[in-house]
């Protein structure tokens, strides 16, 4: 009987959740979150003829454009080819682009799905973090075909060039995907409440993402950058900014594992784990301090 349960008490502080409490509540609502995730997966391409194949279209087109512009028209120096002997710009680009998508999708979807859920939240109680989490999960599932495409691409390269392009270091994909998702969600949670209050925040973030794309070594290589801005270079501080950006670390780690077939350094791993979880916890606690009030439209 319900009477066994202790009473639920709503107080002025009851929209604020402690850390443990907030995670427990998410666990209690896991059923709801899984339905929301399914719904997103089902409905995203519902009225399209090609369905989920569209999720491949965007990365393919991006890859094609950048390869054309930076690989053949402007010719980017890759600053040392892969130790395996592979020298292929699309492959070099793709290994980084996948993780950039992961970051962009998880941060924006967390940020936007919170404000998108507020209307429903006035009629139905659910933990404010539930819709963002469901969105991040569905976005991650949608990115899996892209990862599969990455593998197919590299296997084709192996076949055509005869250089071994796939190895055991590819396993870094999994922890890196997880860390990127955690980091991206943390950033999204940091901005979710401000974005719900002021739409300007979302606009600013779109601009920041654009900047982030170009100051992260995605279409250019870090080693090339190091040569020009490194020891005795023009602006050494700029090198530090770029090198220690979490996104650079993620992208370089993924290039190590996928393009260069070597293991990322221990420093990189420690740095990424600390920064990802740190950012997530920071965003999560800030979010839970303000989300309740924001959900009430204040």
């Amino acid at each position: 009987m319900a009477t066994e349960n202790p009473p639920i008490i709503f107080t002025p502080a009851s929209q604020q959740r402690g850390l443990a409490e907030s995670f427990r509540e998410i666990w209690d609502y896991r059923g709801y979150i899984s339905y929301l995730t399914k719904k997103d997966l089902r409905t995203n391409y519902l009225k399209t003829y090609l369905g989920w194949i569209w999720s491949l279209a965007e990365p393919l087109v991006t890859l094609a454009i950048y390869s054309l512009v930076f690989g053949y028209i402007m010719v980017v120096e890759r600053g040392g080819d892969s130790p395996t002997g592979l020298n292929n710009f699309p492959a070099f680009l793709f290994a980084a682009l996948v993780f950039w998508s992961f970051f962009r999708q998880s941060s924006t979807s967390v940020m936007n799905s919170f404000s998108g859920s507020l209307n429903l939240r006035k009629k139905l109680y659910f933990p404010p973090a539930a819709p963002p989490i469901a969105k991040v999960l569905s976005k991650s599932f949608e990115l899996l075909p892209e990862v599969a495409m990455l593998m197919v691409f590299y296997l084709i390269l192996w076949g055509t060039t005869g250089i071994r392009t796939v190895g055991p270091t590819w396993i870094v994909l999994l922890p890196l995907m997880l860390l990127t998702m955690i980091f991206g969600s943390g950033v999204g949670f940091l901005m979710a409440v401000p974005n719900a209050r002021y739409g300007d925040v979302g606009m600013l973030f779109q601009l920041a993402l654009r900047l982030g794309f170009y100051i992260t070594p995605i279409i250019w290589s870090l080693s090339d950058f190091e040569r020009r801005f490194g020891e005795g270079g023009e602006r050494p501080w700029l090198l530090d900014v770029v090198r220690w950006s979490p996104l650079t670390q993620i992208v370089e780690a993924s290039r190590d594992g996928i393009y260069r077939l070597q293991w990322p350094s221990a420093t990189t791993w420690i740095y990424l784990v600390v920064v990802s979880f740190g950012t997530f916890l920071w965003g999560w606690t800030r979010f839970h301090r303000a989300a309740g009030k924001a959900a009430e439209g204040q």
Binding site: P7, R42, L124, D200, E296, Q298
Partner: protein, 412 residues
């Protein structure tokens, strides 16, 4: 579990022993001195600018939607909340289910709550009715296999046929409401909070809904209901809370609270209108109406009593009376009851007129009583007085567009 059950077993067979105090009724919802404040920002688009520059042009205004409300709801009882639009009913309901947290005070709830603030609120249009039932179960924390058990009952109560397996965006609003209601009653809540849900949908849906609420209450479900149908509320509820501008104006026995509330509402109408009454020194000194239960308003389809008082300087030899109802919106005379009196009238006295069935639609009316000397073409108007009166729909039925005219049937 054992302690509670044992206690219940021991308490039940107790004989009426004056020394042993009766077991205290269990409180399912305890609202203790709850207030809810909203900050109203004049213009949200300048929000970021002023937040960044620290230049606050428009300070947010405090709005107390609920002020110091306390009420206890016993397990298995039904609380009705009444009040005008904007009196804080919905805010209080949202505070009871945790959507809003109180600014002051606290709400203590025992048992699983289902809040029906809008029928079918959580429905995903792209999913089928069936899938939405499972999803609703998930948000209420009900395991899938439990939903498996009740899904047939939900489909039966919703009564939407094969649409149950179609996406919800193919539904009419009535169908959505039916499904929403069916889900909520079958997902077996301990406490049901319902906001204006009975008034959506057609009559059979309303009746069905009321039946189900009554059944749930008999099963021990605690219900808090916000509705506009006062007759319905009086019939269903054990307790009525009347909110006025966020404050509890009165809480208690339904009949009493509703009577006070109706009086209050009618009084408010009269205060609004002062200029409708004709000049001073009017020979008709007073004019008002009442329904049979003593409320100063009329109800369509029920008897209406008109009360008037006169104070004549000169006697009227051949007094005739006429009553007219003029609709305020359309300015059309909708009802006119001429009463033949044929009598001499002098000095002071009262007039009581009873209209057996008030067959005019609900709305705001000006009622006019006219006294003439003589009848027909040589009638001379002696006095008339007007007063604004509300005519309400008969709330048991809640049909605005139906007037019972009555009549004797003879079938040969």
């Amino acid at each position: 579990m054992s302690t509670t059950d044992q206690a219940a077993e021991q308490e039940l067979p107790l004989p009426e022993d004056p020394k042993v105090p009766k077991p205290k009724p269990e409180i399912a919802i305890r609202v203790s001195d709850v207030s809810k404040k909203f900050e109203i920002r004049a213009d949200s688009s300048t929000g970021l600018r002023s937040a960044l520059t620290g230049f606050h042009r428009a300070k947010p205004k405090d709005f107390w939607a609920v002020k110091g409300v306390s009420v206890d709801v016993e397990r298995g009882s039904m609380l009705g909340i009444i009040g005008r639009n904007g009196s804080g009913k919905s805010t209080l309901l949202r505070t009871m289910c945790g959507i809003y947290s109180p600014t002051e005070g606290q709400v203590e709830v025992r048992g699983r709550i289902t809040a029906l603030l809008e029928l079918g609120a959580g429905f995903v249009p792209q999913l089928t009715g069936r899938e939405n039932v499972y999803m609703n179960g998930a948000v209420m924390g009900i395991p899938r296999d439990r939903v498996d058990d009740i899904i047939a009952d939900v489909a039966r109560l919703a009564d939407i046929g094969e649409f149950f397996d179609n996406p919800v965006d193919t539904y009419s609003s009535g169908m959505k409401a039916r499904l929403g209601f069916a889900v909520s009653v079958h997902l077996d809540p301990d406490i049901l909070l319902a906001d204006e849900i009975i008034s959506v949908g057609d009559v059979s849906f309303s009746k069905n809904g009321i039946n189900h609420m009554t059944k749930m209450r008999h099963r021990g479900v605690t219900i808090v209901l916000v509705a506009h149908g006062l007759g319905l509320m009086q019939r269903l509820c054990d307790q009525i809370l009347w909110l006025h501008q966020g404050e509890a104006q009165m809480v208690g026995e339904p009949r009493e609270v509703i009577r006070e509330y109706r009086d209050f509402m009618t009084m408010g109408d009269e205060v609004l209108v002062t200029d409708e009454d004709v000049v001073d020194n009017n020979p008709i000194t007073h004019l008002d109406i009442s329904s049979d239960d003593g409320i100063a308003a009329g109800y369509t389809g029920t008897p209406l009593n008109v009360h008037a008082a006169y104070d004549l300087v000169e006697p009227i030899e051949d007094a005739h009376f006429a009553i007219r109802f003029r609709a305020q919106e359309t300015n059309v005379f909708l009802g006119s009851a001429a009463v033949e009196a044929n009598q001499r009238l002098e000095g002071r006295g009262t007039i009581d007129i009873r209209i057996p069935i008030l067959a005019i639609p609900p709305g705001q009316y000006a009622i006019e009583l006219e006294i003439t000397d003589g009848a027909g073409s040589d009638a001379r108007s002696v006095a008339s007085r007007r007063s604004r009166v509300p005519i309400h729909p008969l709330e048991e039925v809640q049909l605005n567009d139906f007037i019972e005219l009555g009549g004797d049937w003879r079938i040969n």
